[in-house]
Symmetry: C2
Subunit: 404 residues, 2 copies
């Protein structure tokens, strides 16, 4: 079921189809690339003669249920708008955490959704979101098939945590990893200024998976010794082992830098605060903790061009998939083996992406369970490469704002 | 005592002086521009035929006391090195918080300092630091005069908090303000995605002064309504008034964004955590707090070109001041009145800069004590303008590293 991005072909083939409208929605937590996928969907759709209106549903599926649609052709009106949208963080269309009930329990939502889609002659719905959003893709596709509606539903993944299964990596992750690596490098410089011992614990996002903390190993490729320790949920964690590892690192480094996933001590305990406390108690030197917080997922000013371009491409490819008649699928990346980094885009039944998380591979965790292997560095490096051109006004990045 | 940056003149006039060496040191908390000032000192000195060796003292005055000097001509070896150093955060030479004792109490430090300087024929010492470091400039200058040593001591200001008196603004502040404004804008985008009410409290640095929190008003110049509330120590603060102001803002904004200085609730209480707690108790909606933390002072990847250039220029001008025979002075910026932003560099007796902090002007605080005036916006905007070219390798900014 592999497809390729083929915007020109989309334009030519469109003539063979009835004219219809489409809707696109964004769901789940924001990322720096989720608007780039929206831009890709919009651009590919706008080049397709068969597509009439391009609607943006406000606040994810809630906007479809409530018939709150924006006419995107009136909001995104130029190539410059598209370019600006690509580098604007978070979701232009808002988001939601609403979980569709099983169709047996409450048909009401589904009836409203069909009413909205019918009213606007919408025959394809593009849902940009995380694994939770893929659940909606599955349910809607099953419902439309059950009631005999030819409405195609395509999922477009996004996750700054990189935890969606099937796809090699998630749009939004590369930008988060780039911000984290750049910030950890800067904090490392900041931590080294004094002649006395210090320990800095930097907490990245990742409540269930350690991709973001692990990705800070990218600094090693540039000759940086930091981070000296990396802890992720997949490797297991104990205070004793952490304190032992830190004691070892103090022998070698005046300023020890440790990257930890927020979920490393479980969901109840703030990893940064807990580790700061036990480290200070044990070592009595200067200890501080820094949370990279939501800046990781929204810092478009230092986003990865590879990430933004791929996010755009996978959005555009979703239009092609719908035109080919696919539905109930999630778009995904596959890495093509070889020396050069290359990916292809394929589709996977969305049902295979729901209710599972992709963990950091056990074979990429080092023997000491406090770092990662060279294979992990090779995996991460291409994802953070490239810098988009950011437009500044008054010294501040310009964001796309809907003028409607 | 006004002087102008005149590197070419320095080269010509140098012939009239004996050959001598100089030393430069960095002190206090790091900033994104403190290496740019080092680059400016180095570059101007290297163009001056009278100057023999250019030493970098390791860890501030501690390096002079302990005769730990680096030969900067062997570390900074090309124009590319200078360019890279300008965009590398924190202090290449390390830093210290060591406070020189009064010379009456302990002459030992002073004797060691003179020994080091004499040993290396150092006749000028450049001290890049905050108001605490200017105390060392005063003491050393007084000591050298008292013992009949012709060793010139020049202070070069740096502060991400912008709290040094006399100078219009401090090198390092513009970059911190640019990072804060860009991050607050991104967090604002991130906060607006859901259809439900939320309140986000963003804590900036500034334990005693509110310059950084106040500078987030720059976003208003770009049409952003956020931050909706700004609290700084100079305006006074009470929980009651804060909760009242927030209740008002909720009427207008679904996602209320508030910027606060870390010192707004006093030095004992974390402003972010305290406000998050009382806000959640009062309003029961989604509340989160974000600390911009040390990233504010070290995020060179989004530094202000104006700031880096000015930091470089004021470092270069310090060489000129020493050549003119000045000592015991701090370099400073004066803003030239007029429509266009222009500054001049002058010198001020360092004694006038010690033991005082420059507070945010009362007349720039709005009537509600929860924001700032248009004059403040005009003050801040030029300081954050311009983006330096950042070199990337593997998707990560390249930092200057000493190869010695």
């Amino acid at each position: 079921m592999q497809i390729y991005i083929n915007v020109k072909a989309a334009r030519q083939n469109g003539d063979n189809m009835d004219r219809f409208s489409i809707a696109v929605a964004q769901s789940g937590g924001p990322t720096a690339a989720v608007n780039s996928s929206l831009a890709g969907v919009f651009r590919a759709a706008s080049l397709c003669p068969a597509i009439d209106n391009i609607y943006g549903a406000i606040n994810g599926i809630e906007g479809v249920i409530g018939d709150e649609l924006a006419d995107l052709r009136r909001i995104i009106t130029s190539d410059e708008d598209i370019s600006l949208l690509k580098t604007t963080p978070s979701t232009l269309l808002g988001s939601c955490r609403y979980k569709l009930p099983p169709k047996e329990q409450s048909g009401n939502d589904y009836i409203k959704i069909v009413n909205t889609l019918d009213k606007h002659n919408i025959r394809a719905l593009f849902y940009i979101g995380g694994s939770g959003s893929m659940d909606a893709v599955v349910k809607l596709d099953e419902y439309f098939r059950a009631v005999g509606k030819d409405i195609r539903v395509i999922g477009i993944p996004k996750s700054s945590d990189n935890d969606i299964p099937v796809t090699d990596h998630c749009p939004g992750f590369g930008s988060a990893a780039k911000y984290a690596a750049a910030s950890i490098q800067e904090i490392t410089r900041d931590s080294r200024v004094y002649s006395t011992q210090s320990i800095t614990v930097i907490e990245t996002m990742g409540s269930r998976t350690g991709w973001l903390a692990a990705s800070s190993c990218a600094l090693h490729a540039n000759g940086e010794s930091a981070p000296h320790l990396i802890y992720i949920p997949e490797a297991g964690f104990s205070d004793e082992k952490y304190l032992h590892d830190t004691a070892e690192m103090i022998k070698h480094y005046r300023a020890v830098i440790t990257a930890v996933s927020e979920g490393v001590c479980g969901s109840e305990i703030s990893a940064a605060e807990h580790l700061e406390r036990i480290t200070a108690e044990k070592f009595g030197c200067k200890v501080r903790s820094v949370k990279l917080n939501v800046m990781q997922r929204c810092s478009s000013h230092i986003s990865s061009l590879t990430d933004l371009d791929e996010a755009y491409d996978i959005g555009a490819a979703a239009i092609d998939a719908a035109k080919r008649g696919e539905s109930g699928v999630m778009m995904a990346f596959r890495r093509i083996p070889g020396d050069q980094y290359r990916i292809e885009i394929f589709t996977e039944p969305a049902v295979n992406c729901v209710g599972r998380i992709k963990q950091f591979p056990a074979e990429w965790i080092n023997e000491g369970k406090n770092g990662v292997t060279a294979e992990a560095v090779d995996y991460f490096l291409p994802l953070i490469k490239g810098e988009p051109v950011i437009r500044y006004e008054n010294g501040i990045p310009v964001h796309f704002r809907a003028t409607q």
